[in-house]
Structures are given as C-alpha cells and as structure tokens.
Symmetry: C2
Subunit: 165 residues, 2 copies
DNA sequence: TGTGCGCCTTCCCATCATGGGAAGGTCAAC
DNA sequence: GTTGACCTTCCCATGATGGGAAGGCGCACA
C-alpha cells in the first residue's frame, strides 16, 4: 500500500532537483527518506508536499535556515500566525533592502552612462566615475606614506598610532 | 624616490581589504606587487589608484570578471567610450533584473502577509500560500506513481518515456 | 640590546545554494 | 541478456569574502 516514487520522480513532482533533495536530506532540512532494499530512496506524497513547500519558500527567496523554521511552524498545530507573519515580514524587509541596494547601484551607473557619449572616442565619464578622485599621484604629506630611494635605507615607515586596523 | 606603502596601508587607502588585495593578485585581476627583501608587498600610488578603481567597480556591483575587462579598457588609450558604455548598460540591465526579481518576491510575500491576521491563532495564509496546491495526497492516476504493498512485489515503476529530465 | 606588539607572509577552511561529473550499482523493457 | 536510464556516494566548482593558524618581519621604546 502507499504511493511511492523514486527521487527523480519526486524531483519532477516537487520541482526540487534530485541533487538538492539529497542535499536537503543531508543537512537535515527534510527527514531522511525511506530506502528500498536496493538503497534507492522512496518518496510518498507527503514527502513531495514538503519538498514543494521548500521549493516555494526558496522561490520567495527564503534562505534555507529560515525555511527550516518555516517547516517547523508548518508542522506545529499550536503555532500562532503571528510567528509566521513576523518571519515573513523580516524576510520582506531583507528582500526590499537588497532590491533597493541593487537599484541604487543601477541608478548611479545609469547616471554615469547617461553622461557617456558612447561613440568611438576614448573619453568616457563612466571610467572617470570609477576613478573617482583621480590619482593622488605625488602625495602631499608623508601621512601613511614613506619614501624610499631605490632599495636602500628604509627610514621610518608608519605612524605608530596603535590599533590602526 | 617613490612613495611606497605596505599592504595594510594600501588597504586603508584603497578601501580594499588586505585579504582581498592578495586575492585579486592571486587571480591576476591586479598585477603582482613588488616585494621588499623581506617578502612584504610594496604598493605605490598607481597601485592604490587601481585598487580604488576596483573597489568602486565592486561597489557598483560589477563582478570581478567584468572588472577585469573594465581595467583593460581603463588602461587602453585606444578604447572607444562605446565599449565601456555597452559594458555598463549590460550591467545595469542585470542589476535591474535582479532588483525586480527581489521586489517581486517581496510583493508576493507581502500579499500573503497582508492576508494574515498575525494573531495567536494557528490559521495562516502565509503557510497556506507556501503549500500552494495542497497535498496531491491520493494521486488520481498512476502517472509517475506506483503503488506498493508494504515491501513486497515491486511492479511496473515508471513510464518508459525517454529523456525524462 | 632586547623585548614586545603589530604587521606581514602563506595556507586551509567556511560561507550559500547549486550543479557537474566520476565510478559503480539497479531496474525494467526489449 | 543487453541496453540505457536511473540510482548511489563522493569530490570539486562556483563568487566574493572572511576567519584563523603558524611563523617571520619591523620598529619603537625601555
């Protein structure tokens, strides 16, 4: 009795690759699958359901450790929806933070690209923007810098200020 | 002659960690630094300038391999700004693509979270959303599924359709 | 001159999620 | 029985960064 599938079928049905199913099992994200005499893993619909849950959580960008918590909440009939919601809101914050960061980088770069003619000449505000303060070629003071003549005489080398880095 | 600094000073001046400077050198992103007799690396303002360039490119999200190209264009007086601009625009596309993806995930999750009471009760649309199609418990047909009685007799197991995955 | 401390060196390991591939065993259809 | 798709485990790779160990160097201060 029981409907059973091997890892490839479970992979197809859940959308999680066989490779990843084995991995999730190895890190304890999902329970160890039953084995046939041959050593093949067996999956039933409940297993596949759990794997699908994991896949959807990943599709929403949840890191595996948070999915571990989600799985725990999922299987806990006494959980409060507040716990789940808090987890989700935290994750939403992180997603939007990352999205903002990426968009900000794109915007800065767009600003440079807009100023670039994009023609055959070498002049390019994008490169100049990356250079940003131009070469501090001949440094004004010896602050953090030392001078040396060829390879002889190594004079004082660094300000002795402690805890520099 | 020559203003020279060790790797820690170059790290401070460029904003690239000493660890990363060594790494960039090891993968050939930046040229090998000169060495003192002691084995310490030496950096001059040009080196620091290049490292700063790399750091700004990284701050704009460029992957190292693209930075490698950027460095090549930077040092090439015959480059056309069109080349640089094309590289930048490609990168902007990728950044915005990723930002959209993240924001999309956040929006989906926000929709679920908005539907969640977030109270002390277990009912939670977020969890349900992750379950998505509910358990395909007793599968309708034997498509991809097999039945088994306990652990005896393993009948036909899989449709022989080739190139399944 | 010695000592101490902070810096340097190399090398290995960890992250995070995923995949590639090798070597070898299993299964089922023809 | 052979074939070919599937399964098993194990190791390595990605991309960018960091942690940390073990040991050497540099320099200021006592």
């Amino acid at each position: 009795m029981g409907i059973v599938m091997n890892i490839g079928q479970a992979a197809d049905a859940s959308g999680v690759s066989a490779k990843m199913i084995r991995h999730y099992e190895s890190i304890g994200l999902v329970p160890q699958a039953d084995r046939r005499d041959s050593g093949y893993r067996d999956y039933d619909p409940e297993d596949v359901h759990r794997l699908s849950f994991v896949r959807r959580a990943r599709d929403l960008g949840f890191p595996l450790e948070r999915i571990r918590v989600l799985l725990g909440l999922w299987g806990d009939p006494t959980r409060s929806s507040a716990e789940v919601k808090a987890l989700a809101l935290t994750h939403i914050e992180e997603l939007e933070e990352k999205a903002r960061h990426l968009q900000e980088m794109a915007d800065v770069l767009r600003g440079l690209a807009d100023a670039c003619d994009g023609d055959g000449r070498p002049h390019c505000p994008i490169i100049e923007g990356l250079e940003a303060g131009s070469v501090p070629a001949s440094s004004p003071s010896g602050e953090r810098l030392i001078s040396r003549s060829s390879s002889t005489s190594l004079p004082s080398r660094r300000s002795p200020s402690p805890g520099r880095r």
